[in-house]
Assembly symmetry: C2
């Protein structure tokens, strides 16, 4: 490929709407172009990268006995009604109607389609286990697409589905897939990806893991233990709080607190620590708008995922109206009408006393609250977010730190959620009908490309690993108007083409600075620089994009040297 015919603009200025580097660099480098909010077209360099990623994924999926199949993008809504997800998933599921007014959906994941494909076939235990996967376009109508390819609405995903006759067999295969995923990320150039326990959310099932690239621009918060191997998505991390009742339990006492509305203010006012307060957080159920009041220790926050999982339905932060019966800023558990609201207590309030809290009347709080005495026996539920410095649920030390991460893949043990709801059964060896147990395994291709860029770039552009680089080597002819320089460059290019090397050739008559900044944006790992000055000594310069290598090599040895460098980096 000659760069002067490569479609796509490269430019210097960072686009104003880019908040993360990979987004800015992939726009600046002519990798992609926005078509609509969260929807992109790819130019050739990005398409070459994603195809290489797709092929790495295919090889690893094939190596663990995956069968590549293809499901439709457009599916009948009836299929999603079978599993119940047509009703349970929010507006991120794109619901459409065809010309006959038949409700359809755009696939955002394909559990239903996977079950539909194999439910007649896999009618006997002898057909198990098996895994089917596809690499395909998906659409998720995200409310807030962001960060270029990190969170888009349309994306290419590898999604795999395995079917088993026992939980043990699922776990055996889950472990195999777990390792295949590690190989995929290592081969794609980010071996530093870690796994974290995750919440299964709308997928159903129990055990699941996410593969996270730690990065300050990540959307996910991850709890990592510095003392043991515990790692979990904040959404899934258990919050452990050890309270101890010390000293006297004071009486419950009403306090006049004009203009004090937050838990921080009341603690300041009373000169007590946040840990000695009982904060109210209010949500509403999406379906009914019913209020859900959660009480939590004043220094902690609510984990919406845990709340949603506990309630079994979606919620949103409450809008507190004048006549709803709640006094915004003064909500507390004492004298609260428990018939009108769903009232929950977080585990952080167990074994506490002398708490301050709202008094459910204007300009008043209580102090001296002891829930067991003043409210009675309540159930304490884990609804709080784990904190920096919190207790590790595995080793029990105060050793939790919170990092940000980009989720580049996930694996789920689904159980029988889909096979039961969709009536997929097989005859076991004793002739009894059973529901197969499923696992599912996803990787977003574009997000993985962007993540590699996040992990490996400098201010001038991406530094692609050889395995997924758009081209392996770039030739820069620094003086296209110099006969010898052009001759040597042309000759190297032709020989590389003849050897079927992945080469991109810049023979434009432009300044070296402009040529190098374009090359930096393309991020090709090995660069051969041909210049009249070096040719006087009979050499070319070979440098790597990551700056680890910068050598002069005799012209005749350039191709062999480059080949060696490529082979070494593809190992």
């Amino acid at each position: 490929m000659k760069i002067d015919k490569l479609a796509g603009e490269r430019f210097k200025e960072k686009p104003s709407d880019c908040v993360i580097d990979s987004h800015a660099l992939m726009l600046r480098g002519g990798y992609m172009k926005g078509v609509a909010n969260g929807i992109y077209s790819s130019f050739m360099p990005l398409r070459r990268i994603t195809r290489k990623i797709e092929n790495i994924i295919r090889e690893e999926m094939d190596a663990i006995d995956g069968q590549e199949v293809q499901f439709p993008v457009v599916m009948p809504a009836s299929l999603w009604s079978e599993s119940g997800r047509y009703e349970s998933i929010g507006s991120e599921l794109m619901r459409i109607k065809d010309r006959n007014d038949t409700p359809m959906v755009l696939g955002m994941t394909h559990e239903e389609a996977a079950v539909q494909l194999v439910r007649e076939y896999a009618n006997s235990y002898t057909k198990y286990p098996f895994m089917i996967y596809q690499v395909q376009t998906k659409f998720r109508d995200e409310a807030r697409p962001r960060g270029g390819l990190i969170r888009v609405r349309e994306f290419t995903m590898k999604d795999a589905y395995s079917f088993h006759t026992s939980q043990e067999d699922l776990e055996r295969y889950y472990d195999i897939c777990y390792k295949a995923y590690e190989r995929i990320f290592a081969r794609a150039g980010i071996p530093e990806v870690i796994t974290v326990a995750s919440d299964s959310g709308m997928m159903g099932g129990s055990i699941s893991h996410e593969y996270m690239l730690l990065s300050p621009v990540g959307e996910d918060s991850i709890a990592v233990c510095s003392e043991c191997d515990y790692r979990a998505n904040m959404e899934a991390a258990e919050s452990i709080i050890e309270n101890k009742i010390e000293g006297e339990s004071n009486e419950l006492e009403l306090v006049y607190t004009p203009d004090i509305h937050t838990i921080e203010d009341i603690c300041n006012f009373l000169k007590t620590p946040l840990e000695e307060s009982c904060k109210a957080v209010v949500y509403q159920k999406n379906m009914t708008d019913e209020y859900v009041v959660i009480f939590v220790r004043g220094d902690l926050d609510i984990n919406e995922t845990k709340l949603t999982n506990y309630l079994g339905e979606a919620v949103h932060p409450a809008v507190i109206t004048e006549d709803c019966g709640l006094f915004a800023g003064f909500i507390g558990p004492y004298n609260l009408d428990k018939e009108k609201f769903t009232v929950l207590f977080d585990k952080s309030l167990e074994n506490t006393h002398n708490l301050s809290c709202g008094a459910n009347q204007l300009d008043h709080h209580y102090k001296g609250l002891k829930i067991s005495r003043d409210i009675g026996d309540v159930e304490y539920i884990d609804l709080a977010k784990i904190k920096e410095g919190g207790i590790c649920p595995k080793c029990g030390k105060h050793s939790i730190s919170i990092s940000r991460g980009i989720e580049v893949g996930n694996i789920f043990q689904l159980g029988t959620k889909y096979t039961k709801s969709m009536g997929m059964q097989y005859l076991d060896s004793e002739g009894n009908l059973q529901y197969p147990i499923m696992g599912c395994y996803g990787i977003g291709v574009g997000r993985l490309a962007a993540s590699v860029c996040e992990a490996h770039h400098d201010e001038y552009g991406p530094i692609w690993p050889m395995s997924i680089a758009p081209w392996h080597v770039q030739i820069c002819c620094l003086r296209a108007d110099d006969e010898e320089c052009r001759g040597v460059s042309d000759d190297l290019y032709q020989k590389m083409l003849d050897d079927r090397m992945e080469v991109i050739y810049d023979d434009r008559n432009i300044r070296p600075g402009a040529m190098f900044s374009d090359a930096d944006l393309l991020g090709v790992p090995v660069r051969v620089i041909v210049s009249p000055r070096n040719l006087k000594e009979g050499v070319c310069e070979i440098v790597t994009r990551d700056k680890s290598v910068s050598i002069k090599v005799e012209v005749e040895k350039v191709i062999d040297t480059v080949k060696e460098m490529i082979a070494e980096r593809l190992k």
Copy 2:
């Protein structure tokens, strides 16, 4: 791959809703499964076939300097409004709304997306020519999906778009692409595909060709000249009729014709040939329901594509109401209210006299019509379908025959329809703004797979060419319970895997008949049969799916023989 874990059912009975062989065989062979009307999921054998086809296409597109890109499946409607197609295309364009009520479409073709991607980039003549292509899922909400993968709603397509600064350059590249397409179809196993001139329809532009596999199950009718190389889609074929006025021109005469409603009936009644009649065919414009009355010689039919192109808008067969002013069964050109209707005359009526026709009143026809005398000067337009035995527009002989064909690809010279409407311009070498000229080039991947199956199958299954076969070789272990037989088979399988051969292995303990009929359905080109009887002589049987080879080969030589057979067939 072992066949006992290959997902997909194979069965004997032809599914009742299949009218063409490829559809029935691909269902019976476990290649695919219907998900909704015109929407299928693919099992592994079909996915392997389509991936091989995709790779052949990619190689040939790359070889003519194509740059692989990717456009979105979901696009904003505003993009399609720029070209005017959001309004002009019917309900086959899937129009949807996202969560913010923004109108979107599902891509059925990507001219708009192609222009959007490159319109800023290609702002100078120095960037031209270039071609971009993608392989991607498309959705076309067909009213009548049929024939399995022949006409579906969701499909994978390779679509390519080239951009040029002159018509000559477009024609030069068009010719290059024309030949690349011939190579693609030859490599995919159907070199017998022919090209025909075609109508450009909704794509805009002028010159275009379709690649047709002649087949009785094809949806298209093709006019082929037996005397020269003229070949055209019926939709695009010019109808040439040479009339000669012979004998006396009779007077126009009203005839009482009770209960006579068709042109055939009136000709029978008057004992005159159909050629001496003037038939009325009535359509209505889709937008306004305005009536369009076309008169044509009684032995000919109207070509709706020509009519649509002439009118510049879509039409449908008319519903003739009592008060519309037309007398169904008695419509004729004499005394017809030309203010109320669009009235057109086909070329077949030029130079005629003594015609019978409707009289625009109940139970009456005219005879003796001479249009030039009785109606006056009218414009004669080519609106008729070409006929079997008709005149070839190229060599002028009465040598046209009509065949059926499956359209497996098409290429269009688009001109500036999209660049003009979407405001894409470049500076030419003299500093003037110009609109680039486009070509576009499509191949449906699934339809191509089905077409190869149509062309190459027997009653037992597909006979895949080596180039796109799901596997290259199948091992049939006829007696899995016989130790030697299984040992030799296992050994051959392992060696083939070690040599990275594409092998599928049937080691199930089933009857040879069942094993062979499954093998026939998979259509793998080379089959190695291992049986105790042959092993007594130290040999295996090697047969080809197309029955051209059936040999016995010493066990040690099986692998080399198979490799040779594969290599030979991949040449």
